[in-house]
């Protein structure tokens, strides 16, 4: 059963890599559904990864063990939220160009994170390797199912959290008044405005959610795969997450599927050496795979028609 075993491992690793993407993509989803493009997801992930690494480290030093990564996770959410506020104020209140501000947030976040890392860790370019991070949690009984059990029911707590959040997001977006209003603001802000809904308020909320989620996404990478933060911890996942939002047609379920798809392409990297045929392919092409795939997905144009109609347009009540 070696093949099945490998297959099971592949699924498992896919879930690991996808988790961060799902978090971030869901964040991007809320922001875009409210009409605000958030190119800064990459920077928000960086902030989250950094905050998680640092706070967890301090928590461990303070004596916490198992609880430490949870502190880090919460810190990441808050730190991501703060950065996203910069984006929100700039683009919503001051109507700056959303794409440019997003790129600026990326540059700024990385600079901040590296500066603070060096500052706090005596000139080191990366945070110390964390002793206590998340470990895989085996769901009793279910995880004993041969091969499949190990693949799916033995995962990091962050994976379970993100699935829950995905489900909650779907519910929130499509079943509650909040979701209805948020979507209205992103599709046709003046129709919301003329029934008394504050476009500004809902867009702020959308962007802030993206800050929290992307922060969590970055934290996931630190706390489940790399165990520290360095300048290259986040390498394009924020942008792939945006592509996942498009590919998933701005629907939480589709976005999860798209993110898993991209996560799979990242997982393949680990399996390059395992098969004869794949050994012939230079490793660089496996590294390229997630990005090439993302590009191809974008070229197919899938999802392009499903964007919220008012996406990217600052709302000016004077020009109703």
């Amino acid at each position: 059963m070696q093949v099945l075993d490998i297959f099971g491992q592949l699924i498992n690793i896919t879930l690991v890599f996808s988790t961060a993407l799902i978090f971030t993509a869901l964040g991007g989803l809320f922001s875009e559904r409210s009409g605000v493009i958030n190119i800064g997801l990459e920077g928000l992930m960086v902030s989250g990864a950094f905050a998680a690494a640092v706070v967890t480290d301090y928590a461990i030093q303070a004596g916490m063990q198992g609880a430490a990564p949870w502190m880090g996770l919460m810190a990441a959410a808050i730190y991501g939220l703060l950065f996203s506020l910069l984006h929100a104020v700039s683009t919503i209140t001051f109507r700056a160009d959303q794409t440019v501000v997003g790129v600026v947030i990326n540059i700024f976040s990385l600079g901040m994170a590296i500066y603070l890392t060096r500052s706090l860790y005596h000139g080191s370019g990366q945070t110390p390797t964390l002793q206590y991070v998340f470990s895989k949690f085996n769901i009793p009984v279910l995880s004993d199912i041969p091969f499949f059990g190990r693949a799916v029911f033995s995962a990091y707590p962050t994976t379970y959290i993100v699935i829950a959040i995905a489900a909650i997001s779907y519910y929130l977006l499509f079943r509650t008044p909040f979701g209805l209003r948020l979507r209205a603001v992103g599709e046709h802000p003046s129709s919301a405005d003329t029934v008394g809904i504050s476009v500004t308020k809902y867009r702020y909320i959308g962007v802030m959610i993206s800050g929290v989620f992307a922060g969590l996404g970055g934290a996931t990478i630190t706390l489940t795969t790399t165990s520290n933060f360095a300048h290259n911890t986040i390498s394009g996942q924020g942008f792939i997450a945006i592509a996942a939002v498009i590919f998933g047609k701005w629907n939480p379920l589709g976005v999860v599927g798209a993110a898993v798809f991209f996560g799979f392409s990242q997982a393949l990297r680990n399996f390059a050496q395992l098969f004869e045929f794949s050994k012939q392919i230079p490793t660089e092409f496996f590294y390229m795979l997630p990005y090439v795939l993302t590009l191809l997905v974008l070229v197919t144009g899938v999802g392009r028609g499903s964007a919220p109609s008012a996406l990217g347009q600052p709302y000016d009540p004077a020009r109703r």
């Binding site: 190119i39 910069l86 104020v89 700039s90 209140t93 001051f94 109507r95 700056a96 160009d97 794409t99 440019v100 501000v101 790129v103 600026v104 947030i105 990326n106 540059i107 700024f108 976040s109 990385l110 600079g111 901040m112 590296i114 500066y115 890392t117 060096r118 500052s119 000139g123 300048h231 290259n232 390498s235 394009g236 942008f239 792939i240 945006i242 592509a243 498009i246 230079p282 660089e284 092409f285 590294y287 390229m288 990005y291 090439v292 993302t294 590009l295 974008l298 070229v299 144009g301 392009r304």
Partner: protein, 360 residues
């Protein structure tokens, strides 16, 4: 996009100037919060740049690639496009130059120009891909360019390993002397600072940037499409084709940046874990410089100086050099959110206006 073009192409100096001040202030605040002395830090930074001929030469060396990438981004902005793929185009430029520089064996007057041109074209084509995807398929040029950045990184690594790698190591064989473009006499004069012809080419490119956009018919079309695609369409211009041409030219500039880092500074290319960051700094330079030739040049000087001088901050004031990234990040945040700057300045500007009224 039209809105950014109008904002950033304005000759108003107030917003950039105030943004620089605010950025430096932000950096100072962070340093104070960390228990550092901002004055000592900024002092060390300036000191590092001017303290010796070597340092001054190296500062010029650090500024050079930013001129290229800044022009690349500014050029694209002028035509309504956000070329965020400069990182990847820069890489492809490096790779093109390295490949020709190592593999070909030609007399210098052919070898060096060939390496330069190859690298530039590699960059241009790489950029044209993103341009084509946008024009023909409507693909968001920001995401596609970022993807292309990473693909360029791995593709470059592959090409280096496949064709020119030194056995058992992660770097390429050295580029032949006949392709290198160091300015040996200047290198000696400045105590081995790595001076090269690329700096001259960069300055020439600033002029070319001006010439193309404001002196040629192509530039006329490019600017029209950037300022008002609807009017350009009315006037009979082919908006889509113009976009691709623009990205190609932009990529040429970006590629040249990479070319000269190879042929003028390093002489070999390593397998890398990440792109170098000159592309993103180029965006900062273009934003600050208002997408004008002189602005980009000055912006490159400022950011290049900040980057190089930052090493001095750790020696002189024990401050992590990355605080300069915060300064740069803050500066462009304020430039991008010019609304915030203007809002902050409102009380001052109104007071001046009132004073004038009263005096009248």
């Amino acid at each position: 996009m039209g809105k950014i073009i109008k904002t950033f192409n304005s000759s108003s100096l107030l917003v950039p100037f105030v943004s620089i001040l605010l950025g430096l202030l932000t950096g100072a605040v962070f340093m104070l919060a960390g228990g550092y002395n901002p004055i000592a830090a900024y002092g060390s930074l300036i000191n590092r740049i001017f303290s010796s001929p070597y340092n001054m030469g190296e500062t010029i060396r650090a500024i050079t690639p930013l001129i290229f990438t800044g022009i690349a981004v500014a050029f694209a902005f002028r035509t309504g496009l956000f070329n965020i793929g400069v990182e990847g185009q820069f890489m492809m430029g490096m790779t093109g130059a390295t490949l020709v520089g190592v593999l070909a064996d030609l007399p210098w007057f052919i070898h060096a120009p060939l390496a330069v041109i190859t690298g530039a074209v590699f960059g241009g084509v790489w950029a044209a891909i993103a341009g084509y995807l946008k024009a023909a398929r409507g693909v968001n040029e920001v995401i596609s360019a970022i993807m292309l950045n990473w693909i360029a990184l791995f593709l470059s690594n592959f090409l280096i390993v496949r064709f020119v790698v030194v056995e058992g190591q992660q770097k390429s064989k050295p580029i032949r002397e006949s392709a290198m473009v160091k300015m040996d006499w200047l290198v000696q004069a400045l105590d081995s600072a790595r001076m090269h012809w690329g700096t001259v080419v960069a300055l020439v490119c600033v002029v070319i940037f001006y010439l193309i956009l404001w002196r040629t018919k192509l530039g006329y079309e490019l600017r029209a499409v950037g300022l008002s695609p609807e009017a350009a369409h009315y006037a009979g211009m082919n908006v889509k084709r113009t976009m691709v041409k623009s990205m190609f030219i932009s990529g040429l500039f970006a590629g040249l940046g990479g070319v000269f880092e190879m042929l003028g500074v390093f002489g070999y290319q390593t397998v890398m874990a990440a792109t170098w960051g000159y592309g993103f700094d180029g965006i900062a330079v273009a934003l600050l410089g208002g997408n004008t030739p002189v602005g980009v040049f000055l912006g490159a000087v400022l950011f290049g100086g900040l980057n190089y001088g930052s090493a001095g901050m750790s020696f002189g004031a024990d401050v992590p050099p990355e605080v300069v990234r915060i300064v740069i990040g803050a500066i462009i945040f304020f430039v991008a959110s010019h609304g915030i700057v203007k809002w902050m300045l409102k009380p001052f500007l109104m007071k001046r206006a009132n004073n004038r009224k009263e005096a009248a």
